[in-house]
């Protein structure tokens, strides 16, 4: 399998005034298509920074970040944005839905930005995803009319609607109770299995971690461990709901 994401000796340093704060200190990593990777580690270990670099919302101070073959260091803002739009999907800790848009419109939003599909194709795609996340009956609801778990499912649908190669999720379960959180991870896993979409998510939660086929542990901006948990339970998408 070829690496869909490849980091070699990546350093990311933030400047706080005159002080340089190292967030990542020489990280090298390869992610393969279809991986379901969990990035673990305590707060401040560099999880989010790593995700930001892979997600093309940030660039490395040194080292190389290749996303789907693109060296992010050498891309313009416009090219990075296009890469995010077409190759990546995002699931955020606090869902980040557009509050004035309905469930349907939130999911449709990236498709409108892509401007590739016709109205009816968009509708089919959105409805099929909402069906998969179990919210087909909530299309006209506004985000504030949904529970946290429902909102995160909308976010999952939005992340997958463009059929991205990689979905990044930053602490997707942190704002959810454990049952709901598990459901979300199960949903992601099911989609990973069904569509072969690569998932990279960060988490504190060891239960959540256990679903991953690769767990990468960070401490002080370095990878300290890379494990492959043995008993990964696979559930079908239908069972998740």
């Amino acid at each position: 399998m070829t690496a869909i994401v490849s980091l070699s000796d990546v350093v990311r340093t933030y400047r706080l005034g005159a002080v340089a704060v190292p967030a990542l200190q020489g990280v090298s990593l390869e992610v393969h298509a279809g991986d379901f990777i969990s990035i673990a580690g305590p707060s401040g270990s560099g999880k989010t920074t790593l995700l930001n670099l892979i997600g093309c919302v940030d660039t490395a101070t040194s080292g190389t970040v290749l996303v789907d073959g693109n060296d992010t260091q050498h891309l313009s803002d416009r090219e990075l944005t296009d890469l995010r739009l077409n190759t990546l999907g995002f699931i955020f800790q606090s869902f980040n839905l557009v509050s004035v848009l309905s469930v349907f419109q939130n999911v449709e939003f990236p498709l409108l930005l892509q401007r590739r599909l016709s109205k009816s194709e968009r509708k089919d795609r959105v409805m099929s995803l909402l069906d998969q996340v179990g919210l087909a009956t909530h299309v006209h609801h506004r985000p504030n009319e949904l529970s946290g778990g429902q909102r995160q499912r909308v976010a999952v649908a939005r992340a997958l609607v463009t059929q991205p190669k990689i979905v990044l999720a930053d602490e997707p379960t942190a704002n959810l109770d454990s049952v709901t959180g598990n459901n979300i991870i199960d949903l992601m896993k099911a989609l990973n299995v069904k569509n072969g979409t690569t998932f990279i998510f960060s988490t504190h939660d060891s239960k959540v971690m256990s679903h991953a086929n690769v767990v990468i542990r960070l401490a002080d901006g370095k990878i300290v461990d890379r494990t492959t948990p043995g008993n990964v339970q696979l559930k079908s998408v239908a069972e998740v709901h």
Partner: protein, 708 residues
Amino acid sequence: MGGHLRVLIRIALRNLFASKLNLVIGGIILVGTLLVVVGGALLDSMDQSMSRSIIGSVAGNIQVYSAKSKDPIALYGAMGAEADLAAIDDFSKLKTALESIPNVKTAVPMGINAALITSGNTVDIALEKLRELVRQKQQGGSTPEVEAKYQSQKEYIRQILRVLQSDMKKREVMLAEKSIEPENVAALARAGSDAFWNDFDRDPLNSLEFLENRIAPQASDADLIYLRYLGTDPDEFQQSFDRIQIVDGQKIPTGRRGFLFAKFFYENMLKLKAARRLDKIKKTRVDQGLPIVTSTGKGGQPSEAEHLLKENQAQTQEIILQLDRIKTQQAIQRLQQELGASDTDLDALLKKFFEMNDQNFNRRYRFFYDQLAPLLELYRIRVGDVLTIKAFTRTGYVQSVNVPVYGTFQFKGMEDAALAGNLNLMDLVSFRDLYGYLSAEKLEEVDKLKKLAGAESIDRSRAEEELFGAGRKVVAEATPGLIDEGRETSGNLRALRREELLRRVYSKDEMDNGVMLNAAVILKDPLKLKQTMKDIEALSEREHLNLKVVSWQTAAGLIGQFVSLAKLALYIAVFIIFIVALVIINNAMMMATLQRVHEIGTMRAIGAQRSFVLGLVLTEIIVLGMVFGATGAAIGAGIVKWLGKVGIAAQNDWFYFFFSGPRLHPWLSAGNLIAAFVIVLAVSAISTLYPAFLATRVAPVRAMQAEE
């Protein structure tokens, strides 16, 4: 961007009422649009109304005058003095030329000048009557009727003398004695003595002269009145300015010398002051609903009405002097009855009568006009009188002209407009006389005088030789003293000459062929004003007419610029308001952007380009501007519509002119609405540029950070 527009508009519309900041911005936009719509409509309506006033009352669409003039034309006067315009020698030639231009309907000859006239005081008027009776007695012998009138008039003058004497005594008490001239005291004493009147019949003319020269000037009620008049062809004027209406009397008959007073001027300047003051009080009561008595209420400040009544009480002499013995008795009787008073002194009765209040005003006002006015001369100059106007000619000597007053006129819809109402009308021939140009008949007269005196004209270049050369024929003989035509041709001769001039009918050619100062050009299509002005300029160039061509607005002088100035003021006000709005909207949008950093960051993270974010912010402000701007415009249009229905009352005579009537009924034009809309959208968009730019700088990484 095109494909994004739908989602942008959708987000913008949904965000419209989502934030309080948007409501603040919307409110500013709403008020701003409302202001532009209402203010613009008011000023535009006023502009058009005033243009109607100016075009319809005197200016016409275009004014032409000689380019050699020292001053620019100012139809409504320029800082007190009349503009110094050079004469156009042959008006008929100009008229023919102007009327050859297709869009020119007609050209009306004009000239504006001003003179001071004395209305003649009461004593003068009484003496003039007595003189007339003396003349009748001397000419036609004494009939009993004339004799009775003569005696009564004498008695009336003696009564005036008594009033003057008692006045003098009062003044002696109040003022230091030295301020009263002893000659005046002596003259009054002589005129009041029985001896003077016993001798009167023996040499009435001499006695009259004494009274005219020594007594009349002591009566203080003679006014110098500033009279502005427009010399024109009355027929042509009336046809071209068809809003003119004759109020009293009749129009000046075709081809005659004559004078028409502007009704406004006639009422304000020539009416008995006491009556005028009562009219004013009535007007404020009716028009503005103001009560007379306010001094008991608001901190003791007397109202204007109370002020006017005080003046009426203090100036009863104006009425008393007008009444002879019989009329005085009648007035006393009527006032006693009305007031239920037993006073026998007219002065005291009048003072009581003018103690008016809100309860008795209407009754007393009617009483004044029904019972007292018939005993009085309400106007100093009556329709039918011959008015003597003396004016300085261009060369600086004083010329006087007699014109009969045929009536009064007003412009429909501008009855109370001071600016239009202070310009009186005079026939062209009299105007030329007054302005000091030789008319054909004057030339004729000069010829006659020359023959009569055996005078000979000598060429200016040969004057020295003729007068002082060796073979001189001319011997200068001079009599000291000036020749006063009035005195030289007194009595019948003078009257006959006057009659003849006044009866003479001038042909249209005589009216047109002559000197004029300016001309009002009336257009068939007023919208083609600019083009026609160019045509006239070209014509002037071609035919060497040497004309200056100005629009009605320029011709009106400062007044014409009034609305432009008001518009400028409005635009400056709007500009300031929008600058303030710009700052507020800018700040509000900055805050709104900061509040939405997370949302914008998310959009950026999931693939929205910077241009999309820019579009998002701009679309929002434009939608906001359109929605609130349209609401503001709609409310503004409603207000204008409502104002158009009820009208805005003209607060004073000036606004009467600007409003072209007692009320302005503003209307809305599409241009106004569009202007308001464009301004509002532009201001909104400009004020949002910086916040929008900031929004595009929001990093996608902000999406990853927890929402504050």
